[in-house]
Symmetry: C2
Subunit: 364 residues, 2 copies
DNA sequence: GTGAAAGCGCTAACAT
DNA sequence: ATGTTAGCGCTTTCAC
């Protein structure tokens, strides 16, 4: 329809256009939107009506230049292809929208460099930042926190406000569950050493093991992916125990898959517990017993905290905000029975898996 | 360390600070970054060095105000909790970053209103928009396209450039596959009526059925979720066929689950084909046969097209760019055998599923 | 309660 | 090749 030359864009009306149409000064129009109380009610009404008629929208860029209020926050994520982030992103986005903020998403693709790069670019534009499972160093994080209000998710960094899940209590629930089922020897499949939560989980696990008199065994670290779990299955079969706790669900799902490939039955031969209750844990056979974190709440809490920081409502607090977890019991855990696991044979399986959609998915 | 009053932020150096330090005019500094060729090499080098020393970064907001170049694009998604978008987002983000662009993510949460709201807010800031599986009307889309360069994903809108997967060929592959396995009667589980791709798939299905002399049956529409698939299982059992093609993988996964709950075996009793090859389709038992779209490429193509539009390198083309699909054959499809499906009994199952992480996941 | 004017940091004209 | 000037659209003094 618009038979113009190239990229045909409509010139948006400015505040001056509205002011002229309403017969007032631009400053009055500005006030009518920002501080309606300080403008004559009639005038304000008229201005707003005219503004709507003209399709006027205040230019956020111009606003941001002077006031610094860009109404944008950034959410940086270590890897967007991890289902773990679904609800976190959504919770964050919901909280942001409710407050009239737009969310900028930076997927680090597991790369420290990309994460910094994306952040560098965004820092000056956004009013605040949420770092979810970041791979950056504590130092980098603190430096960024100096530039903008910042909240870290799933990690405690001294001097930077953070939101974390209650690893300690969560692990305890998982161990109690396995203990109650008669398991006395547990293997932990470790995640990336750089992951703060891996350290937390392992530590909590050791404490729980001591208290309950359980034997503990650690395998890994593995990449926190389905493929990592498949690899872990091999290792595990060489030193089997009756129960396994995996760093996260992706790893646990891979383990289930790897065990099934070599004929080890879950839960008859091994009980498996994961972390996070991500998409798919209820679809596989057997369903995965896992520690569910209220991910939506996690994202929401982080953003709300950030907005409070931005508005100055709240001063940065060093102590992490802790979100509780709950154990979701499914079919992958059961009573301990005499272990009978053969050595791995069909290694060929692995190469097949490389082509599948879940293989490359990773976690932070 | 910084014992200041409230939210302590460092004042970033401006272009004037750099200019003063370098003993040149601000415009020269600007040129040194934007058009190095038009500045004496020595001067440019000195300026850059000083800028780095001072930690100067050009303020993107100020730049955007004058030039309109915010270096940001928006990606609007109908529902971020759908694994379908994983790789799309990632491909899009990768393409954006390579070009020096930051990506703003708008999750519509299945809501037309939220989508428009988020877009309204972002339109003025971003240089262009990718609409993935949008729920907006053609009219809304065209209006937005008037404001900014825009590309639609998974939908053809007259007058707006788009990128779509080759439904026609894809469906044909799926039907050929089932046909070759001896299936002569296929049920299609329909997705949301608002979804453009649902219409496309159904149409392609009908054409293929006619050509191959197959009988076709349509059930639905269902919400394109795991839960929708569970519901579909009930309906399907009342009018069973030997093969099913679902609108998408989420629906197919739910179907597998629902069928398993009532004791219908896949693929012995029914063969099931999904769409998209999302995360998890290779983890369930049986693995889901599905039409894989190169999702990463889809996202990448859309953004690259958008950037070409923005830079003016390319004029908007009405004809959709088509991306090919390929059939991934897994265990959910097999030779046709005499159907023997009992009426549904255990309806109770459904309420259980409502609590699970995969239940609420939806698609666009 | 309203208007006038200055300026956020940058870049695009124009001038030299 | 570099400097000077003006102004993007808005908000925020400061007058009235």
């Amino acid at each position: 329809m618009a038979g113009s030359t190239g990229s045909d864009e409509q010139a948006a009306p400015t505040i001056y256009d509205v002011a002229r149409a309403a017969g007032v000064a631009a400053s009055t129009v500005s006030r009518a939107f920002a501080r309606p109380g300080r403008v004559n009610a009639d005038t304000a009404g008229r201005i707003r009506r005219i503004a709507v008629e003209m399709g006027y929208r205040t230019n956020p860029v111009a606003r941001a230049l002077l006031s610094g209020r860009s109404s944008m926050i950034a959410l940086a994520i270590s890897d967007i292809t991890n289902p773990y982030y679904f609800e976190i992103i959504r919770g964050a986005q919901a909280a942001a929208m409710e407050a009239g903020y737009t969310m900028l998403l930076a997927d680090a693709q597991e790369s420290d460099r990309l994460e910094r790069e994306a952040l560098d670019r965004a820092v000056q534009t956004v009013e605040g930042i949420v770092l979810a499972s970041t791979r950056m160093s504590d130092t980098s994080i603190r430096m960024t926190a100096k530039l903008r209000p910042l909240i870290v998710l799933n990690r405690a960094v001294a001097g930077v406000p953070s939101v974390v899940t209650d690893h300690h209590h969560g692990i305890r629930q998982a161990v109690d569950h396995l203990h109650a089922l008669g398991h006395s020897h547990i293997t932990y499949l470790a995640g990336p050493e750089a992951a703060w939560s891996d350290g937390m989980r392992w530590q909590a696990l050791r404490e729980a093991a001591v208290e309950l008199g359980l034997r503990l065994h650690r395998l890994g670290p593995y990449p926190p992916t389905v493929l990592g779990g498949v690899a872990a299955a091999d290792d595990f079969c060489r030193r089997p125990t009756s129960a396994v706790i995996a760093y996260n669900d992706l790893l646990a799902l891979g383990l289930l898959r790897g065990l099934s490939a070599v004929g080890v039955r879950v839960p008859q031969d091994v009980s498996v517990v994961g972390f996070d209750n991500i998409f798919g844990t209820d679809l596989v056979t057997p369903g995965l017993t896992t520690l569910a974190a209220p991910l939506h709440l996690l994202g929401r809490t982080a953003v709300q905290g950030l907005l409070a920081l931005i508005s100055g409502t709240q001063r940065p607090v060093d102590k992490p905000v802790t979100i509780p977890t709950r154990l979701v019991v499914r079919a992958s855990t059961d009573q301990r029975r005499p272990t009978r696991i053969a050595a791995p044979a069909e290694q060929a399986e692995l190469s097949d898996l490389l082509q599948t959609p879940s293989a490359g998915i990773t976690t932070g």
